[in-house]
């Protein structure tokens, strides 16, 4: 009973943290964890089949309103099904956030690859995206009909603005995090100003600021990490 409660508390904390999509948290978790430490939640003996992977990610995709998907995947894959261990999950999460691509599709590809190689990745990828693909087209079709109603344009502006609020919260967490390093703050402001204010082509800004920022992090060394 008590063990269960303690585990539940720890789980809640972990989900809250993963949901916050805190890449640095995940990274520090990985870096500090001794590689040899056995995972507390050891994976189950039998790896799941491709169909099971597909169905799980299909469900996650369909339930994923407004983000927070990482927490879902963690709950299902690590805690409930024990398909992969906790540290493997954290590693995959950091990887997905560092690479280009939507964090959640990258995480799905990583989990699928880990479980069933290429077939697993394809199953997770297709499962995750096929539900939303149909849903978003249906919603667009419904909106085409609703467009005739009065005030549809204003309502859509309101929804778009509220959705921007979701983005701002993600960005705000990041702003406080990267601003601990001066070079990080400079790179962030330069990127924002270049793309958002000066309308310099997006690729050019990333091609210039990206390498400079990585170089600053490299030569700054790990000492000023936090």
């Amino acid at each position: 009973m008590q063990v269960q409660r303690a585990y539940a508390g720890r789980l809640k904390l972990l989900i809250a943290k993963t949901r916050a999509a805190d890449a640095l948290f995940a990274a520090s978790f990985i870096v500090r964890m001794p590689v040899t430490t056995p995972s507390p939640a050891s994976p189950a003996a039998a790896a799941p089949g491709v169909t099971a992977i597909f169905l799980l990610f299909l469900r996650i995709g369909l339930l994923s309103f407004g983000g927070g998907l990482t927490g879902w995947v963690f709950r299902e894959v690590v805690v409930q099904r024990r398909w992969i261990a906790e540290d493997e999950f954290m590693s995959g999460m950091a990887l997905g956030q560092m690479l280009p691509g939507t964090n959640i599709t990258n995480l799905a590809v990583y989990v699928g690859q880990r479980l069933r190689g290429a077939a697993g990745s394809v199953a997770a990828f297709v499962g995750l995206l096929s539900g939303p693909f149909v849903a978003v087209l249906l919603l667009a079709g419904v909106y085409g009909a609703l467009k005739q109603l009065p005030h549809a344009a204003e309502a859509m502006d309101g929804i778009a603005a509220a959705a921007i609020g979701l983005l701002l919260v993600v960005a705000l967490r990041g702003v406080t995090r990267v601003s601990r390093r001066p070079a990080g703050a400079v790179a962030m402001v330069a990127t924002f100003a270049g793309v958002g204010l000066l309308h310099i082509p997006f690729l050019l800004v990333v091609a210039v600021v990206g390498p400079l920022s990585v170089a600053a992090a490299w030569f700054g060394g790990p000492a000023d990490a936090r």
Partner: protein
């Protein structure tokens, strides 16, 4: 010209797939520029609408590209745009995943991560600004955006759909009030 649309979708979205560091929101400003200003696939008005729809639907917000493809070239366009945006980055991720575990904890690991994070955040902020600029709400949109952000900071578990209903309601109410 319309025949070339699926190909154009590919050539626009494949590069975006490979530079979307920090996730989907980071390429929002770039996609808006390409889809509205360069290729005229959608108007500014339609872009804001499609953005709102993609956010109200389940799944990654990047399904916005699915809607742009659908808008300009039907179901084929939807498929092409979706695959163009999601497949290249996923292939890259697949390849890197194998290498990644062997180099855990090394210095380039953390330098890459710490160096790219601020770029991703700057891009998210630029994307937020570009949507707010396009939307017809003006100051009201800015108010609603910061209001919903504040609400989410105060109540992180709040269902986003509730926020959308609130935002839509307030925007319509403000319009009726001032009309």
């Amino acid at each position: 010209m319309r025949d070339d649309v699926p190909l154009a979708l590919l050539t626009v979205f494949v590069p975006f797939s490979l530079v979307s560091i920090g996730g989907g929101p980071s390429i929002l400003a770039g996609i808006q520029h390409e889809a509205v200003d360069v290729h005229h696939w959608v108007t500014s008005r339609e872009f804001v609408e499609l953005f709102a729809i993609s956010r109200a639907a389940p799944g990654p917000g990047s399904m916005l590209t699915t809607l742009i493809g659908w808008h300009v070239a039907g179901l084929t366009g939807a498929f092409v745009a979706t695959l163009a945006l999601f497949v290249p980055s996923s292939l890259l991720c697949y390849g890197v995943a194998a290498v990644w575990n062997r180099h855990r904890g090394k210095r380039w690991h953390s330098a890459l991560e710490r160096g790219l994070a601020p770029v991703g955040i700057g891009l998210i902020l630029a994307g937020a600004l570009s949507i707010l600029r396009l939307s017809g709400g003006g100051a009201l949109s800015y108010g609603l955006a910061f209001g919903s952000a504040a609400l989410l900071l105060w109540r992180p578990r709040l269902n986003p759909l509730l926020l959308f209903v609130l935002g839509a309601g307030l925007a319509v109410a403000a319009h009726v009030w001032t009309a």
